[in-house]
């Protein structure tokens, strides 16, 4: 039996405009057969949580290169919890120092992809971790 394609929200929170990575990921996941919604720039955690709910996605992929992850991620995680969006996995890509990884994972981030991660590895991760609810 087939199931619906994996749905991913790629979001670019914060003030940073460096969207090369986010756009490549969005396109790469689409080429791998997934349905991707790209939010565009300067999304607040509120906007991201609400888009995730409306679009009924399996994953939220955040692209953060500016060092603002320690401010943005906790706000998003608590918003997701408040809105009962607990079956959506949050992934983080961009420039995330090793020192911050444990803390971010403790808050519920499923995976962190640092610079140089091959697209194929991200695609594989998503396929292996897509929530059960969509398997038929």
């Amino acid at each position: 039996m087939s199931r619906r394609p994996i749905r991913v929200l790629i979001a670019k929170p914060g003030l940073d405009g460096h969207d090369r990575g986010a756009k490549i990921i969005a396109r790469g996941l689409r080429d791998a057969g997934m349905e991707v919604i790209y939010t565009g720039l300067r999304q607040t955690p509120e906007m991201i949580a609400s888009a995730a709910l409306q679009e009924d996605v399996d994953f939220i992929g955040l692209s953060i290169l500016s060092g603002a992850h320690n401010a943005i991620v906790p706000r998003l995680m608590s918003l997701l919890k408040e809105n009962g969006i607990e079956d959506v996995q949050v992934l983080l890509g961009g420039i995330i120092p090793d020192a911050d990884i444990a803390g971010l994972k403790a808050q519920g981030v499923s995976a962190i992809f640092q610079p140089g991660t091959p697209l194929a590895e991200i695609v594989r991760f998503l396929r292996e971790h897509v929530p059960e609810r969509h398997a038929v």
Partner: protein
Amino acid sequence: MPGREFLTLSGTPVKRLYTPADLEGFDPAVELGEPGEFPYTRGIHPTMYRGRLWTMRQFSGFATPEETNRRYRYLLEQGQTGLSVAFDLPTLMGYDADQEMSEGEVGKCGVSISSLADMETLFEGIPLEGISTSMTISSPAAMLWAMYLVVAEKQGARWERLSGTIQNDILKEYIAQKEYIYPPRPSMRIVVDTFEFGARHTPRFNPISISGYHIREAGSTALQELAFTLRDGVEYVEWGIERGLKVDEFAPRLSFFFDAHNDFFEEIAKFRAARKIWARLMRDRFQARDERSWKLRFHSQTAGCSLTAQQPRVNLVRTTIQALAAVLGGTQSLHTNALDEAWALPTAEAALMALRTQQVLAHETGVVDTPDPFGGSYFLERLTLDLEKGCADYFQRIDAMGGMVPAIERGYPMREIAEASYRYQQAVEKKEKIIVGVNAFIAEEEPIETLYIDQGVAEKQVARLKKLRRERDSGRAEKSLRELARAAEGSRNLMPPILEAVRAYATLGEMCETLKGIFGVYQEVSAA
């Protein structure tokens, strides 16, 4: 390897061998000229670096103005010859440190500047008449420049003796870096206001640095970087002329900024082609008569996007080769990236190594002894000619759309860059392009020490703003903002009311919010 295709980094095929047949009909007097002569293919000065070395200008800024001021003094003591200010994201977007959108971003990617008070601290003890300063800021460039001018004024420096550059390149913000605030047309008006003001009051200051760097970093090819940047230059000249300025009044102070990437010969060719194309455009398309208008002067920075997080020390090697290409390409000033910048802003030690790289090139290698030493190479001249031809094709397409502003409004350059960036990524995934340490020659390694900016910086900056708002003459500040709004509604030059607002300690955020109320905010046309 039989059957393997040889391509430049930008995907241009490279032949096995280049011979005189590749330059048939090539007239060196027309295509090259002497160094210092039209069309300046070989450089803008007759003796190039014999007369004066390039300016070693390391881009730097982080955390509070105090901390960055200390870094500047350190770099100057170490022999750096110009300053280059990196602002944090809230500053680049015209937000004060205490606005909601600034949360988590204050002082992270550069120094936090919300008012004249911060700017006074940033340059404390640095006499501005004696140094040239570059400020990497575009959307709120007029405000930051006004702050700089007022700091100079307070030091007793004369504006006509100040030298430096504001980036102020709004077109590349829409195209690549995406730090825009207002829509393109009112933004262009502010840029032309700075040209006009600069032509009258700051004859040694470049009111713009027309930038290919960010276009390239966003994933463009070398050709797209060249073509979009020069076409942006044409757009600025046209808008200046439209305002009623004479081309020779402002064109000599237009400056450029390019990326120095990995593909050694393609990069040298790009710099040479840029000078040649610009000289012809200025002389023939715009009838500039002042030779200074013909000369394309540029800053270059080694390619940040080429730095790898893996095995970061290898980045020193990449940066050295890129810097060499910039020097052989005849750059006027140079920033070399630090080896740790794929992870964070550089530590003092990494920043020093980056500066030392330039000093080695300048003083130990002999490459400064004669201008354009590769000039006449069959391969290099062919590459230069091909880039020129490719650039003309892009110009035709953009001219047909009605210019760069309409091209941006329909998302054209952004789509071209996104395509190129995706093609490159696919080549990396398939290992058609090898990146040492990333998709080949992978090794386990110990993490390096990096600079960490904590949340304390934001708290300090917010407290400082609170104090400023309490202590300033609030009547004067409010009046200056009302005056700025009135000027924006009309058509007079915005620099004088901005200068008054700065003197009244109105904050950057207050000034930008005022203008947003009149000009509106820009929304990107095409996402992904």
